[in-house]
């Protein structure tokens, strides 16, 4: 067990587990974002955002989430570097004309960079004003004072350029997930002829529900 993570399959196991963990995070994130669509002036969204800022979550779960991102990004970079080295310096003059290979599966690193850019913008737009500088304005709901996260989101999504970037990031995420979802289970060994098809279908549906879900919310906020 000691040298598991020094092996190729061990490194991929880390990619798989951190990826599945981030998928769970995406489900939570999308569920809370869906509250933005409730026409109550953002009350339920603010309550949910305030819940996510509870000390147990802020200091307990947030570092775990950060670790999940760091492991996934660091090992993604390590694996990509090693794989480029294994491919060798000489390229095929006639290219690679293998058909039936998903485009996403060959471009996971590039798609990952798109999502990383998106993550960085997110940290600047939301994480810093809400959890570091506390520059975001306040609102009182049911006698409790809390950040008006809804107003912050709404202000950001009034900017069509930001909504455009948001859509690009979400679609990049969707394409990344079309390969990432089933690939995580393949790496865990939880796949065979039958389950491969099931994971692929489930992964494709999940990827587009999440990707388009975020897009729809952003567009709805822009138009509201």
């Amino acid at each position: 067990m000691s040298n598991l993570f020094c092996s190729s399959i061990g490194r991929k196991l880390l990619m798989s587990l951190s990826g599945l963990f981030l998928i769970i995070f995406l489900i939570v994130h999308l569920s809370i974002n869906l509250l933005l669509l409730i026409p109550d002036g953002g009350e339920s969204f603010n309550l949910a955002a305030n819940f996510m800022a509870l000390p147990a979550i802020k200091f307990g779960l947030q570092p775990v989430l950060a670790l999940g991102f760091i492991v996934h990004i660091a090992y993604g970079a390590i694996l990509t570097l090693q794989n480029n080295k294994a491919r060798g310096n000489s390229k095929y003059a006639s290219g690679n004309k293998t058909k039936e290979v998903m485009w996403a599966s060959k471009n996971m690193f590039v798609l990952g960079i798109t999502i990383f850019a998106f993550l960085a913008v997110h940290l600047v737009d939301y994480w810093i004003p809400l959890q570091i500088t506390h520059a975001a304005e306040s609102v009182t709901i049911g006698g409790t004072e809390m950040h008006n996260t809804y107003a912050l989101v709404k202000a950001n999504l009034q900017n069509p350029i930001k909504v455009g970037l948001y859509i690009i990031g979400s679609l990049g995420l969707a394409v990344h997930l079309t390969h990432g979802f089933w690939s995580a289970f393949q790496t865990l060994g939880a796949s065979n002829g039958i389950w491969r098809r099931r994971w692929t279908v489930a992964g494709t549906v999940f990827a587009w529900v999440v990707g388009l879900g975020f897009c729809v919310i952003a567009v709805a906020m822009l138009l509201s």
Partner: protein
């Protein structure tokens, strides 16, 4: 003649492992579409010898698709434009008259070029030597029904055992990964009772050797199973992951 075609060949020439290598262009007239790709290469070499030039070096042996020696990267695909065949089983009827065919060696850090189109695939032998066998004494030939094996297991083991170790999987993989080869060799033994005894040790030893030899990490693109002349499925890779992870967790 209707069934003859003329071709332009762009062939990789490299004197030895140290040489930088380059493409040379040759013209071939009146090649029968009934000839195999390797017969076309033979015709090219006879032409070159006739001109007093050095013939092109390429690997081949049985020429019936079972030895795994032939290994040409033709027009962007290992073993050429046909599916589920080795280079020796590829026929010239798959090409058009006047076509330019680019012929390259397998390219991967794990398979260095020795000369022209021949690469050193002894890395695969080293992986097999690390554990791709059974060391249990099997005694004399037992009755076929003495050891019941479920039909699906027997079928999957036979499918995995059809791997001829040609290296097309590594050649096409964007990561230069040998996982399809290793997973086939681990699977065909792990599925059968005689091989199961040493399954854990075998998976660890073969993956360890594969990593040590500098093959890449599998990212499940599936290009290998598309190009495999024997149609080995990547469900074998899932099985290898399973075997390896459970072996490591038991340590």
């Amino acid at each position: 003649m209707d069934n003859n075609i003329s071709l332009t060949l762009k062939v990789w020439r490299q004197n030895d492992a140290q040489d930088k290598g380059r493409f040379e262009t040759y013209k071939l007239e009146a090649v029968s579409t009934d000839s195999s790709f390797l017969e076309m290469m033979d015709i090219l070499n006879e032409q070159l010898i006739g001109e007093g030039k050095e013939p092109v070096a390429f690997d081949h042996d049985c020429r019936e698709g079972i030895c795994g020696m032939c290994s040409l990267y033709i027009n962007g695909r290992p073993h050429g434009p046909d599916d589920d065949v080795t280079t020796c089983q590829l026929h010239m009827r798959k090409f058009k008259d006047g076509e330019t065919i680019t012929i390259e060696p397998w390219r991967s850090a794990g398979f260095p070029v020795i000369k022209d189109l021949i690469v050193n695939r002894s890395a695969f032998d080293q992986i097999i030597a690390a554990g791709g066998y059974t060391s249990v004494s099997t005694g004399g030939v037992p009755d076929a029904n003495a050891l019941p094996i479920p039909k699906p297991d027997a079928d999957e083991a036979m499918d995995a055992a059809s791997c001829i170790g040609c290296g097309a999987c590594v050649a096409t993989c964007k990561n230069g990964s040998a996982m399809l080869f290793v997973s086939a060799k681990v699977s065909h033994l792990a599925l059968l009772p005689q091989g199961k005894v040493e399954a854990a040790r075998r998976a660890k030893a073969m993956v360890g050797k594969m990593d040590e030899l500098g093959f890449g990490n599998c990212t499940n693109t599936g290009a290998c199973e598309v190009e495999c002349p024997k149609g080995i499925s990547i469900s074998n890779i899932a099985r290898l992951n399973r075997e390896y992870l459970s072996a490591k967790l038991q340590d």
